[in-house]
């Protein structure tokens, strides 16, 4: 690595007043032609490019990003990482990602601060209990660490939760995945960008895709705000804007793009040392290394590309937070923001070829895409390079909406995304 990061390089550079750090990535103009172009410079897109270069030896490739890399949902999410999904297909996908997370800082030589502080999912009614136990059993048999906790064990693991049985929806237990946790979202985008750039990938920011050129059923290239880029393979990882790109190619996807909001409190000293998710009352909370409580809110019911949701969603979210954590009533909301999430009817993603040759889509992650970033990139790279899916993403094809073979994660269990 041209510019290896370590405590020693920090000390060395301190002597030269940090004047000699190299660029983390170049700022190239697009070439006329690439072997493949990834549309979307978020974590998933950059990871895709990284693995295309690293594992499939495709070096003449580019990532085009309409704004700045990591500026979409990568930089807006609450960074929860877990793999305790119900269905085998989902468990396979997300645990593949989790395993990469576990060595990602070293692989990228970039500290993505993957912090395995555990993720707890709470049950608040008897059906929650059945669903979460079902999931725990399935996880265990799939080799995913997950245990069922009784209410007193929940309290022991996270003492600030109100486990009184007199509250409106008392905690009846929960599941815990200890390998799960959080990571530093920006670092993931930056780390992958740096790694991809090092292998020759062109990362082109401020370059918006305006059209997809086809010859019959085969792609020929992209019209962008920086001119036409010829390529035979286009991998679209545009999250909330996936449908917009699909429409350019004359495709319709089973997606709806909706606002998802999140907020942070002012920073305080450590008060909650794990991630707690509660589906029944819609409260998701963790604490960042900086000390902010990081709280995920729900999605609105309508399509919107404004990156703004409605305030009542935030109100509902904090209502639930105070139900479970009454001690946070005097804490203050510092920032609130929204992103655009593209949601599939079965709450599972699409990592798939399309009916157009050379056009691939990685989308539909809904509210839970961040956790999959490394796995998604790896599997999408495999799909693009080989023109067929890896066995781990075979179930996540577009055709499942025709055959009916859905991977229905929200119907299946109280799984929050």
């Amino acid at each position: 690595m041209k510019n290896k990061y370590s405590i020693f390089s920090l000390i060395k550079n301190a002597f030269s007043n940090h004047e000699n750090w190299q660029r983390a990535w170049r700022d190239p103009e697009p070439k006329k032609e690439y072997d493949a172009v990834i549309v979307g410079g978020g974590g998933h897109g950059l990871a895709t490019a990284y693995y295309l270069a690293k594992k499939h030896n495709l070096r003449n490739i580019a990532v085009v990003e309409k704004g700045w890399i990591g500026g979409g949902n990568t930089g807006r999410n609450t960074t929860i990482i877990r793999s305790n999904y119900l269905w085998d297909a989902s468990a396979g996908l997300y645990d593949h990602a989790l395993k990469i997370w576990e060595g990602l800082s070293q692989e990228l030589n970039y500290n993505v601060m993957f912090s395995q502080r555990g993720v707890m999912n709470l049950a608040h009614n008897l059906q929650d209990v059945r669903d979460l136990k079902r999931r725990t059993h399935a996880n265990r048999l799939n080799g995913i660490d997950a245990v069922w906790l009784e209410t007193d064990e929940v309290k022991k693991f996270c003492p600030i939760i109100n486990t009184s049985q007199d509250i409106r929806y008392p905690v009846l237990g929960g599941t815990l995945q200890k390998r799960a946790g959080t990571a530093r979202h920006d670092a993931v985008a930056w780390g992958y960008a740096r790694g991809a750039d090092e292998m020759g990938v062109d990362i082109i920011q401020n370059c918006e895709v305006k059209g997809i050129k086809r010859s019959g059923d085969t792609v020929e290239g992209l019209e962008t705000t920086k001119g036409f880029i010829k390529t035979k393979k286009i991998g679209v990882v545009a999250a909330g804007h996936s449908s917009v790109i699909a429409n350019m190619a004359g495709l319709k996807l089973p997606l709806e793009s909706k606002p998802l909001q999140a907020l942070v409190s002012e920073p305080v000293k450590p008060i909650i040392d794990t991630v707690v998710m509660s589906n029944a009352v819609h409260a998701y909370v963790s604490q960042s290394d900086k000390g902010e409580l990081v709280i995920g809110a729900g999605t609105d019911s309508y399509v919107s590309y404004t990156q703004k949701g409605s305030f009542n969603i935030v109100e509902e979210t904090l209502k639930a937070i105070l139900e479970l954590y009454p001690i946070f009533s005097r804490m203050k909301m510092l920032r609130q923001w929204g992103g655009i999430v593209d949601i599939c009817p079965d709450a599972s993603p699409i990592i798939s070829k399309t009916s157009i040759k050379g056009l691939y889509f990685n989308c539909g992650w809904g509210t839970g895409g961040f956790k999959a970033t490394p796995g998604s990139g790896d599997l999408f790279a495999h799909t693009i390079a080989n023109d067929e899916p890896h066995k781990l993403n075979a179930s996540f094809n577009i055709n499942r909406f025709v055959s009916g073979d859905l991977v229905d994660e929200h119907g299946a269990a109280a799984v929050a995304h």
């Binding site: 804007h241 449908s243 429409n247 996807l253 019911s301 309508y302 399509v303 409605s310």
Partner: protein
Amino acid sequence: MFLINCPYCGERDQSEFVSGGEAHIARPKQPTELNDDQWAEYLFMRKNIKGIQFERWNHAHGCRKWFNVARDTSNDKIEKIYKMGEQPPKL
């Protein structure tokens, strides 16, 4: 939080309404005549437009009537509200 002018009740806060997604996707009259692709098109595929989208809304916490809205999804501006069964406006 936008305001929606319910054609039956007048202007109300958006939180009183529920979105029903893209409008003018009529349920096929003869579903059994469709092949799997055509049925999937009806069931799942959506334009998901960035820009003016015709969509269905329900005044769930009010008169419970369904109606259509032409809304710009890039800024949430409502261009037109019209009743069920009416043709989408030219905008």
